[in-house]
Symmetry: C2
Subunit: 330 residues, 2 copies
């Protein structure tokens, strides 16, 4: 989609609807808020929608309270920007109502994007959807003030794990540099989005680490928590995000696994890997994901049976893997 077309589309429409995906992350929320603010400054009537709950750690973002969770029927016709969604399913059943509201502009950076829009701005070389929004704002001479910069910085820092992940490019860093010049405080943002959590999270981590086990070659490290423990602390499942890395990060460990046992006798399994394709392993159990990060859900009468099955599958993948050195830990 050319800037000329965006320009025309914006000129012809007063109403703008911005949507992003369920279980939103910093890129989804930051991109939506930044794009909304830039369009409002252009005189547009903007409403922003996200199905489900916005995690508390994003509460400091300007405009976050205006995000609505339910997309109403019979809205005045306008343009619908769908941000950071690989497909319309991530809009959590809002697709039909959304398509009625106007032409869809799909803005995304996922390689798997389904090009579901009437217009598609998809760039998988961008580290985050926020990086694409930044480009649109610059190329169309739109407002880039401190608040919009803050939202875009949150988007890019979130999706690159503070510039640690492999999607970090020279361009991500250059854009971040411009956003800092606009007055963004990187240490405040990092504290809010990476380094602040409720007390319950530390209790969960403590209890999870107490369950840490490794296989005999120290190539697999796993931990587990039961839903009852979360309830005891009033904790949310999202607080366990990242726990799996404590096992994976151990020197010599190839695969980290985290088991979350629910009261419904299901075990949700998270995998993180250094070399082995854990997406394939998760697929064996009806799950999926990427080679280095994947997940699945297993039903089993006993929690331990689910764990044993999974660990066995990981062992088989590890031993099959040619040339694997099962390094002993320090």
């Amino acid at each position: 989609m050319k800037n000329r077309e965006i320009h025309d589309l914006l000129n012809r429409n007063e109403h703008i609807y911005i949507l992003t995906h369920t279980l939103p992350d910093g890129d989804a929320i930051g991109s939506a808020l930044a794009w909304g603010a830039a369009l409002r400054h252009r005189g547009k009537k903007v409403r922003i929608f996200c199905p489900g709950v916005i995690p508390n750690k994003y509460a400091f973002l300007p405009g976050v309270l205006e995000i609505e969770d339910d997309f109403p029927a019979s809205l005045p016709k306008g343009i619908v920007f769908v941000l950071d969604c690989g497909d319309m399913e991530r809009l959590d059943c809002m697709e039909e109502k959304v398509r009625e509201a106007g032409k869809i502009v799909n803005i995304d950076h996922h390689a798997t994007n389904a090009y579901f829009g009437d217009y598609n701005i998809v760039d998988n070389s961008a580290s985050a959807t926020g990086e694409i929004i930044y480009r649109l704002i610059r190329e169309n001479n739109m407002l880039l003030d401190r608040e919009i910069s803050l939202c875009l910085y949150v988007a890019i820092a979130s999706d690159t794990g503070s510039f640690k992940y492999s999607n970090t490019t020279p361009r991500s860093l250059q854009v971040a540099a411009v956003l800092l010049k606009k007055g963004v405080d990187p240490s405040l943002i990092s504290r809010k989005i990476f380094d602040e959590y409720p007390l319950s999270t530390v209790f969960l981590l403590r209890d999870a680490l107490a369950t840490l086990q490794l296989d005999e070659t120290h190539s697999i490290a796993w931990m587990s928590l039961h839903e009852d423990v979360l309830d005891a602390y009033g904790a949310k499942a999202e607080e366990m995000e990242g726990f799996v890395n404590f096992g994976k990060n151990i020197s010599g460990v190839e695969v980290g696994i985290f088991f979350y046992h629910t009261r419904k006798k299901e075990t949700k399994v998270g995998f993180r890997s250094k070399t082995v394709d854990v997406g394939e392993i998760a697929a064996q159990f009806g799950g999926g994901g990427h080679p280095r990060a994947a997940g699945c859900t297993i039903g089993a009468r006993e929690d331990t049976i689910a764990m044993e099955k999974v660990i066995q599958a990981v062992k088989e993948a590890l031993y099959k893997k040619e040339g694997l050195k099962t390094v002993k830990c320090d």
Copy 2:
């Protein structure tokens, strides 16, 4: 110091000695290796020194094995570059021998630098000494290949906590962008310097979290470990770095404290704070540091007595602090 002077100094000297501080971090090691490689490429005879042990996580840096720990007497006269040292004490008693080896060029970014060199290149607006070395390399048209870029990236990423700390500037990010263009892999480096640790570290964290306590207002969070526990796992004291943040990062907590009890009946105390000046608190016990990060060592017959004294001092500082809201945790 002007580039003209550096140029002349380099032209007049064949032997170059590069030194950095004891207990070296990524900035110390990365800067020294980058500067050494750039000068070697210029035809200089370079030796690099660092008193004490180089942490294992930097073993992947090109040239790290050539770093020597003992500065010999009677070296041929040359130039001595002292990097990332606020004062000569950080060279661990090598000062006298170092001064005999030639004129000293002090390159540093600490605001407290003592200007101890015959020449001083001190810039406290730089996020890392590596950022100053980058500038010297560019301004003097020296080599910036992939290996030198890698060392400089480690320097800047280390000292900014992967661009999370408040010393991160637009320039830090712009320099990092150039280094990525030279072929540096940010995810590999981040894994090596931030996200990989021996098994013993996870055991220590598990045991430390098991001791987590908070005061009645949930404003202070503390944990402790005894030297005997480290020995049981064959762990090094450096592995406890960052544990104090697990307490400090809890929502509502103002001060995190970590107590390390040695067999000599000493308690080493680390403080991290969101608002209270913990440098002042540490100073009450003969320690020091910054307002947000400080430390001290206390001798006491009983470990619990040392802890009680410190917690009491933090409480007094907190309650004295005007307008403090002792927010209850989630």
